[in-house]
């Protein structure tokens, strides 16, 4: 469902041209997550569930403050807690709000084979249009940050929308509104970079020499950015990817391999046509049927055990 107040500049698996008249003259948007101000209170998680009408399961404690245990179709954002003993021997409790990074060059969108299931708005938000989703899971493979989750209920992919519905009408995302410490801020990407620069200067005055902004170029930059105390070691923050890139498989498939595969598909179709003209239809006999049934049974068994 396209939002009338926003232009969609990219759609998955679509070749018709995108509208270009309404440029994003006010700049693209960005969420800045300042891990150095975050206290891990999870107000963002709650606000996300409230605004989006989601309720994850009441789970269990698996030996961590992190709850729910992981991102899910109903948990689109999650605080991840990491304990780090720095070289000075002091402990640091690094808390990172995980969720969709809204890449400028989104691997999910590139990988998605279903027309219009993943879109990118002119303001930079990458959104899933679940009604078009076929549940193939290619977006999961395509995402360098391991964000999308396929729902067991409807077999569709879900993730943070950056509250595209709120942003479209001039409001900040729900998580931003709920954050009590100002660790989450929202605005144009340029403003957020400026704000981050001030924060980084402050952090350097507090002895964090390697403080910096996480806006990884490998995915064209992101519309969700982090201020990190240790920008040289993003992995400390619950395994934040140091240099994210779209999976080579997706790049290959959607890049150089695409014309080749299209040619192969065309040739296959052509071959089929000639086969039909020269030989006629393929008939299925009883032996083929039995073989097919046996192979289906073999596939079903592990599922039944699970």
């Amino acid at each position: 469902m396209p939002l009338q107040s926003l232009d969609i500049i990219r759609r998955s698996a679509t070749t018709t041209p995108s509208p270009e008249v309404r440029g994003s003259y006010s700049g693209t948007v960005a969420k800045l997550i300042d891990t150095t101000k975050c206290i891990g209170c999870k107000a963002c998680q709650v606000a996300c569930m409230e605004w989006n009408d989601l309720r994850d399961d009441v789970g269990i404690n698996f030996g961590s403050y992190q709850n729910p245990a992981d991102l899910s179709d109903r948990s689109w954002t999650l605080m991840r807690f990491s304990e780090y003993e720095n070289p000075k021997g002091d402990l640091e409790w690094l808390i990172r709000k995980d969720g969709c990074m809204h890449c400028a060059d989104p691997g999910c969108l590139k990988a998605c084979p279903s027309p219009g299931a993943i879109v990118q708005y002119s303001n930079g938000i990458v959104d899933f249009q679940e009604e078009n989703c076929i549940g193939c899971g290619y977006c999961v493979t395509g995402c360098p940050f391991n964000i999308p989750r396929i729902s067991k209920r409807d077999k569709k992919a879900y993730k943070c929308t950056l509250c595209s519905d709120r942003v479209a009408v001039g409001m900040e995302p729900a998580c931003i509104k709920a954050c009590p410490t100002g660790a989450l801020v929202f605005g144009t990407k340029e403003d957020m970079k400026e704000h981050a620069a001030e924060r980084i200067e402050d952090l350097k005055s507090r002895g964090f020499d390697k403080a910096g902004l996480y806006d990884p170029p490998g995915v064209g930059g992101t519309h969700v950015m982090y201020v990190l105390h240790h920008a040289d070691q993003p992995g400390l923050y619950a395994g934040l990817v140091a240099e994210p890139r779209i999976s080579p498989l997706v790049r290959l498939w959607k890049g150089r391999a695409k014309p080749v595969s299209l040619a192969i598909m065309a040739l296959t179709a052509l071959a089929g046509f000639f086969h039909f003209v020269r030989v006629g239809r393929n008939e299925v006999d009883e032996r083929d049927e039995a073989a097919a049934r046996a192979s289906m049974d073999a596939n079903r068994k592990p599922e039944a055990r699970a």
Binding site: I39, C41, K42, V46, R55, V58, N61, E83, L91, D202
Partner: protein, 809 residues
């Protein structure tokens, strides 16, 4: 709070100790991040655990639970020996120059006047020396061996950095780093705020920990200034209002006190509280006690409070002893209480030693629960397996549940930590049969009164004559009660200097407590709230957040008690001549004729500073006291005593004195003493606390909170976990001498093993949010484990330090 939430942004140093603001007060914590972002403030966290607050701190300093006085005493020793004190402030605004009586003594951890059998002190020697002029003797040179300065130096000389390391387990370098940072605020242009909460309150020496913090702030000149103060973070919505309105058993509204049973004489009761000045030209504002008291009695008994019946003095109960929570439940467990009303209170979950509480509730004939939700207390008689293993067939207590509205379903004022009375409006209709507390109490009262009328009673007057002027007697409104606690004139009030001029007409609301009279012509249900609903209307409902000075003094936002004053003791922010110590953060100043500025002056507005009136106008001497006189149960200077369940055999500060191991003035009931555990059986130190994701027990019923923190857990350090072979996520059993619980283990680096008195001490962290009702996984009440012993002054239970044993299940 002496200051208020917004003011924290003015701090240069923020010390969070005895609290975990980021965890328990995440919204208020934003002002810490403001101070860091815009004031280059540095945040120090001193805590047994590396907390959420510590995660954004500049310095984290570990400490063994229950040893904060050693740490703070060490800081005071450092400030005194390194001369990091605000001299002008300390000399003029504190009792440093005062001379103490000759018979006052302190040796081996015990003060003069101790009665070991009674566990209490004769405090008569704990006082200043009074001269022939009736005033306290002073030595401006600070040389007299018995002046407070010298006594204090001597007292805290024992609190060396080495002693801090030995008792607290805090590495010496870390301690010194923190002490130096704290000392940097002794200059007039720098301020430190102290944010504390139940991490100080819930110890058997909790009040003295807080006092030690306040003394440190006085030494630094940080009380009464913007960005400074002693800031108690109140943990329940409106718990500040509860204490203000005198819901403690020994209090009347506005921190007036109930008479004790020896005080049958009204005049003596007043005289003992209307302190005469102890130094020349001091305001000693409690001299107005009678005005507050009479106005209160007019609010309660109206025309029935007359000069003839001493304003209804006989209607007030006279205390034979304190009836705090621990005393009440002791009496209940002895079968001496028949009925109990729990109004917004879940004692089975909230009071120590659940087994004792279960037994006590089972001895009641009836129990009334006023609460929006099912509580553990309302279900105390039901068997929930291991989580509440009782036999309902053996419990005869009749339980009545009266469902109440919650805060969002009613009008009223909530008082925040910064003493702001903020009015709120009903947001939704209550569900089902829920009624407001006002309606339930109103109906209960009118029915009781009808019963007294028809059947009579032993002493019906206090009930029959209670002033009950509400439009709907069965359901007084929040507006009516607010106007009553604020107060109004009952007769035309005239200017004492010009009796022909009427200053306030009969029936008009009063603008402030300065208008209160002791002749029965005014009514005010809580003098410190006087003016909250003034002649111009409900000031609590104001929402103008303009901040003309930029330092967060929004005087037109709501109403702050007293007198809409935002920073208490703000006179102390100026030097003796009336000039602000720090012009960049000016609160008030003397302009030659009056005091004024960004705050309501905490001083006589037209008092010329050259006349020497002190800034602490509630004290008879006008100064901030390092020497508490008889104000505290266990001594005039805070002294360290070990928790009642301690891993140590002796108190390292007074090793030779068995009586000085634990608080010598604590009240411990016989059975409760027998239930204390020993370190040989329970080798691990435990502390309890809140988590951000929950609020006590009631959010266990809320789905979103349950999703965020679904199951009971305990936190143990990596060293202990390794020793016991426990991995994160596994079940552990934690036992004390009073019971056990089983929970998931969170194994963490954030709880480190401390070296105390040469031995390793492991701390176990036990969050309080678990119960057998609600949507989370059922769990054990944390207070199954905790000991029954309170602070000797407030009787707040020692929930923060006790002994347990952790085992792998």
């Amino acid at each position: 709070m002496t200051n208020h939430w917004v003011d924290i942004k003015n701090a240069d140093i923020v010390l969070i100790m005895g609290g975990n603001a980021a965890e328990a007060h995440p919204c208020g914590f934003k002002w810490v991040t403001e101070a860091k972002a815009h004031n280059k403030a540095r945040l120090i966290v001193v805590d047994p655990r590396f907390t959420r607050s510590a995660s954004v701190a500049d310095v984290y300093c570990p400490i063994r639970t229950g040893t904060d006085i050693v740490f703070l005493g060490g800081v005071m020793n450092h400030l005194l020996t390194e001369d990091k004190i605000q001299h002008e402030y300390v000399k003029n605004y504190t009792d440093m120059t005062f001379i103490v009586r000759e018979d006052f003594a302190f040796a081996d951890g015990i003060y003069s006047g101790y009665d070991a059998d009674k566990h209490s002190y004769d405090k008569s020697s704990w006082d200043y020396e009074i001269g022939a002029d009736g005033y306290v003797k002073v030595d401006p040179e600070l040389k007299h061996p018995r002046c407070v300065y010298q006594l204090m130096r001597k007292h805290y000389a024992r609190y060396t950095p080495e002693m801090v390391e030995r008792v607290c387990g805090t590495p010496k370098e870390k301690f010194l780093q923190v002490a130096e940072m704290i000392g940097s605020t002794s200059t007039p242009n720098r301020a430190m705020t102290v944010m504390y909460a139940l991490g100080w309150t819930q110890h058997s020496i909790g009040s003295q920990m807080i006092r030690a913090g306040a003394m440190m702030q006085l030494l630094l000149g940080n009380i009464g200034v913007a960005g400074g103060g002693m800031n108690a973070l109140r943990g329940h919505s409106n718990i500040q209002g509860l204490t203000d309105l005198g819901l403690m058993s020994n209090l009347l509204p506005g921190y007036l006190t109930l008479p004790n049973e020896k005080e049958q004489d009204y005049d003596k009761y007043i005289a003992a509280r209307a302190y005469k000045p102890l130094r020349p030209n001091q305001l000693s504002y409690w001299q107005n006690y009678n005005k507050f008291y009479v106005s209160l009695m007019k609010a309660w008994w109206g025309d029935a409070a007359t000069p003839e019946n001493r304003w209804g003095y006989d209607y007030l109960p006279k205390l034979d002893k304190g009836y705090d929570m621990l005393q009440t439940f002791e009496l209940m467990s002895q079968g001496k209480i028949n009925g109990y009303i729990c109004q917004g209170f879940n004692p089975l979950a909230s009071s120590p030693n659940k087994a004792k509480m279960n037994g006590a509730l089972a001895k009641l004939k009836f129990l009334v629960i006023m609460d929006p939700l099912v509580t553990e207390t309302s279900e105390f008689w039901r068997n929930f397996g291991e989580h509440n293993d009782v036999d309902p067939a053996k419990i005869a207590t009749e339980v009545f549940r009266l469902p109440t509205t919650c805060f969002a379903e009613e009008d009223g004022a909530l008082v925040n930590s910064g003493r702001w009375l903020q009015w709120h409006w009903k947001g939704a209709e209550p569900p089902g049969e829920a009624r407001s507390d006002l309606q339930i109490m109103g109906e209960l009262f009118t029915r009781l009164r009808a019963l007294y009328k028809s059947d009579g009673g032993a002493y019906p007057d206090p009930i029959m004559k209670l002033y009950w002027p509400y439009v709907m007697p069965n359901s007084p409104s929040a507006d009516e009660l607010a106007k009553e606690y604020s107060g109004r004139a009952l007769k035309d009030l005239t200017d004492p200097k010009n009796p022909s001029q009427v200053t306030r007409k009969a029936g008009e609301q009063l603008a402030g407590f300065a208008e209160l009279r002791d002749d029965g012509s005014t009514l005010s249900g809580c003098w410190i709230y006087c003016g909250a609903w003034g002649p111009s209307g409900n000031l609590m409902a104001r929402r103008d957040n303009s901040d003309p000075t930029g330092i967060g003094q929004t005087l037109n936002w709501a109403f702050a008690w007293p007198a809409n004053r935002r920073v208490m003791y703000n006179r102390a922010s100026c030097d003796p001549s009336g000039k602000p110590f720090n012009p960049a953060r000016k609160l008030i100043a003397w302009n030659g004729t009056t005091w004024g500025g960004a705050d309501v002056p905490d001083y006589k507005v037209d008092e010329d500073p050259s006349l020497g009136m002190g800034p602490f106008i509630m004290n008879a001497d006008g100064v901030g006291r390092f020497f508490a006189r008889g104000g505290m149960a266990e001594g005039p200077f805070p002294e360290h005593y070990e928790p009642f369940e301690t891993p140590l055999a002796t108190n390292p500060l007074s090793p030779g004195k068995a009586e000085a191991l634990n608080n010598p003035a604590a009240r411990v009931f016989k059975d409760d003493r027998a239930a204390f555990g020993k370190v040989a059986d329970f080798p691990h130190v435990a502390t309890t606390y809140r988590l951000t994701e929950h609020f006590h027990f009631w959010t266990l019923h809320s789905r979103l909170n349950a999703i965020m923190q679904p199951q009971q857990f305990v936190e143990i350090g990596e060293v202990l976990a390794k020793e016991l072979g426990i991995a994160g996520g596994e079940q552990v059993k934690v036992s004390s001498n009073r019971g056990y619980l089983k929970a998931v283990a969170v194994v963490t680096k954030r709880l480190r093993t401390l070296t105390v008195d040469g031995k390793p001490v492991h701390t176990v962290g036990i969050p309080i949010h678990a119960g057998f009702t609600g949507l989370t996984k059922p769990g054990y009440l944390t207070n199954t484990l905790t000991p029954v012993v309170g602070d000797a002054n407030s009787q707040t239970p020692e929930f923060k330090s006790f002994l347990v044993k952790v085992e792998k299940v």
